[in-house]
Symmetry: C2
Subunit: 508 residues, 2 copies
Amino acid sequence: MSPHEETPDNTTSAVSTGNDVPSTTPSSGKASNGRPSPPNGANGVREWRRRSKYRHVEAYHSKVRQSSLSREPNPNVTASFLGFRNLMVIVLVAMNLRLIIENFMKYGVLICIKCHDYRRQDVVLGSILFGLVPFHLYVSYVIELAAATQAKRSVGRKKKDGSVEANEREQRIFRWTWRLSAFFHCVNTLCSLGITSFVVYFYVHHPGIGTVCELQALIVSFKICSYAFTNRDLREAMLNPSIESALPEIYSSCPYPNNITRRNLLYFWLAPTLVYQPVYPRSSHIRWTFVAKRLSEFFCLTVFIWLLSAQYAAPVLRNSIEKIAVVDFASIVERVMKLSTISLIIWLAGFFALFQSLLNALAEVMRFGDREFYTDWWNSPSLGFYWRSWNRPVYLFMKRHVFSPLVGRGWSPLAASTVVFALSAALHEVLVGIPTHNLIGVAFAGMMLQLPLIIITAPLEKIKSPTGKVIGNSIFWVSFCVVGQPLGALLYFFAWQAKYGSVSRMAE
Amino acid sequence: MSPHEETPDNTTSAVSTGNDVPSTTPSSGKASNGRPSPPNGANGVREWRRRSKYRHVEAYHSKVRQSSLSREPNPNVTASFLGFRNLMVIVLVAMNLRLIIENFMKYGVLICIKCHDYRRQDVVLGSILFGLVPFHLYVSYVIELAAATQAKRSVGRKKKDGSVEANEREQRIFRWTWRLSAFFHCVNTLCSLGITSFVVYFYVHHPGIGTVCELQALIVSFKICSYAFTNRDLREAMLNPSIESALPEIYSSCPYPNNITRRNLLYFWLAPTLVYQPVYPRSSHIRWTFVAKRLSEFFCLTVFIWLLSAQYAAPVLRNSIEKIAVVDFASIVERVMKLSTISLIIWLAGFFALFQSLLNALAEVMRFGDREFYTDWWNSPSLGFYWRSWNRPVYLFMKRHVFSPLVGRGWSPLAASTVVFALSAALHEVLVGIPTHNLIGVAFAGMMLQLPLIIITAPLEKIKSPTGKVIGNSIFWVSFCVVGQPLGALLYFFAWQAKYGSVSRMAE
């Protein structure tokens, strides 16, 4: 049984609602306006009282109506379920607040800045590895400078002797130049990646410092590759002026050999992109308040992630170790689910911190115009859409320098995709496995598994109906964020603990 | 670092995207269509290869763009966050599945049909109380039949003697008839409520059986009241024919004394409404598949609620007892939050089971046309809106027979609302307190507390902006479902346990 109410402002509507009895009573022929205004005169009082008594006969059930949750078409009611969305947000917040209290009661405060265990050696080695980056870039600059000098001479010779034989010779020289420069670039890149990986794997114990070093080495390798490939094609365009005219319009302000400067390479190094262009779209000025906001976002999110990892993820991971060790299936499922929420929040916070806050701040400082570091991957109707949209810098690199050239050479798109994913998988394994000193292949397998998932979910992308999109989107979220991430984190953490014990003293 | 991909169907777009280099190569002046079609002839192969190599110089960063999560106006991107809604649903499901597994590991299976402890006496007494209902209804029918006979005679006498004195006399008789019938109706209703409450409070131990009996008694009391009030006004309308013409159009098919039949009252008893009308809008026929679907929904939801209560709510409530006993604040907050999710789910399932499934099934069988048993209360922007929309049968009863007559008599709407809420509060306390044998006043206080909350949130209802609606809606959800319900359940359960120990053997 339950109550109901009438708010004060609801009065007039409550009184004048329904089939109001018209005011034609026997005692008075005058029409009242249907509102409970104070009656004037004894006759008025009687008339008004009688009217009001007739409330009891009002026909509240006057027409056929459907319940708003019935699936039948309701012409009079357009059901909106916005309130349930609000409820979901509230319940999510409440549930997580509860977990925070539970965690606090169980473990107390686990956060401890002083007791974090990183070694002096790790910091020193990390700094040295970072210091090597400009060196490798300088090497690739020198290689390109030599190739450019060679190309300029070639153009000069062609101007003097325009015969077909001379042209053929210059083409041969061009190809040799490319092979030579490609060789040196490869040596340079492999040195950069190899030295970093070797040092991190064998001498840098702390996985965080290791990851940053490895990430930096990978980014620089990507940039060197893009720099080499792009300059090779620019060189060819200069040698064949008819092709040059077909270069993108935006490059015209800096024609080929002019872009081989230290300043230009420095800009590419610091710009938030992995795709080399002699010229980028630029913003007109630096908005320092924008930079400050983005950097403070980044700082806050980093602290947030650290707190979450130390206070919530670490105990769950630690508990899970025992469960995995005894291979208790129900417990593992329960642990993975508990981890999934935390890892999802950490992942989302990390995504925002890196791709929105840090890259935007960097782009603003560099006056880099194209801020499309991601598109709306959260709406992904398929896994393919996700991989094309969440990390645009890497996606554009892979598309420009791996996928398109392969397809251009006559490879099937599926084969080219497989190559791209195999490369990605290898780099993922390097990025995760080397800093954690466990090349167990989970990251590699996880990436390679994406390919069949992409093929399976591809048809969902074409469905125009909202239901199809929701199904595809749900499959994406479940496969990636709820199952994929926490399971991976769990396995690497397990491997780490099996090898070294805990990462910090507080775990004891 | 991360990968990206190209789905097979993405090929052509990937190849022809961006600033494609036009196909005007030195070796051939012909334009190709920009697609990687198999080249024909050696010249074609060379031309096509050269073209494809030019992928490396494409300008992927060709214009200034914003990140889609940046707040700046994005002309090219309209950000949609539908994916995050799907994620919320998935996370909610995952979190609750996790809790189910955790609960299972902690307590095992608590569900046990055989060990449920209800006494033979409870069932027998419950059946007798149910059997009394038709008796009370029959009494009220007899009262109305007598009053109708009297009224018919009065109309007959008025036809013979139309003088003013005779009219005055008949009015006097009418008023006396009403006072007499009202007295008998009161006795009847109070007997019905009083006997049930007395028996349930002192002799029916099981709270579930008690609640059903008490609920049935309350519904019948409401119906008798509505029956008496409505017939009184119909009688007056018959005596004053000019008023009669002002009766709702829908009543004309069954003018006053004709509706005083056992059949008509039986229909009112079984119809899903608390507001008596001689005639209701009716549906044309009974769709038995509709009835079957609704009843199976009701059955499934009942089982679901039972499982949830036995397996999840009961242990949490039991754990909470110890926490309340030692008055550990953090633990109480944590327990209330844990309870809130479960009680919310039970409440929503119960709402759907009763108001959507059961009342719709009943309405279909009775060919009752007006199925608006609730409106979209989940979107409530204020508490007032909620109380007007979640339980329409009671709301309409209170509006027709309490609120409107009071306002019609010159009461202020606030005073009338207070009366309505005080009445509701008393009935809530009766409905909850009597079956649990604890008239501790929490339900009463909870209901009375609604009034200030309604007044506070009333301004939110008038805000047209979506933000205002979201804030009001959130206040509503938090106050009612997250804080109000579980706290109340906890307190009544606590009182019960303090008095009797556990309700079933399985709790030991």
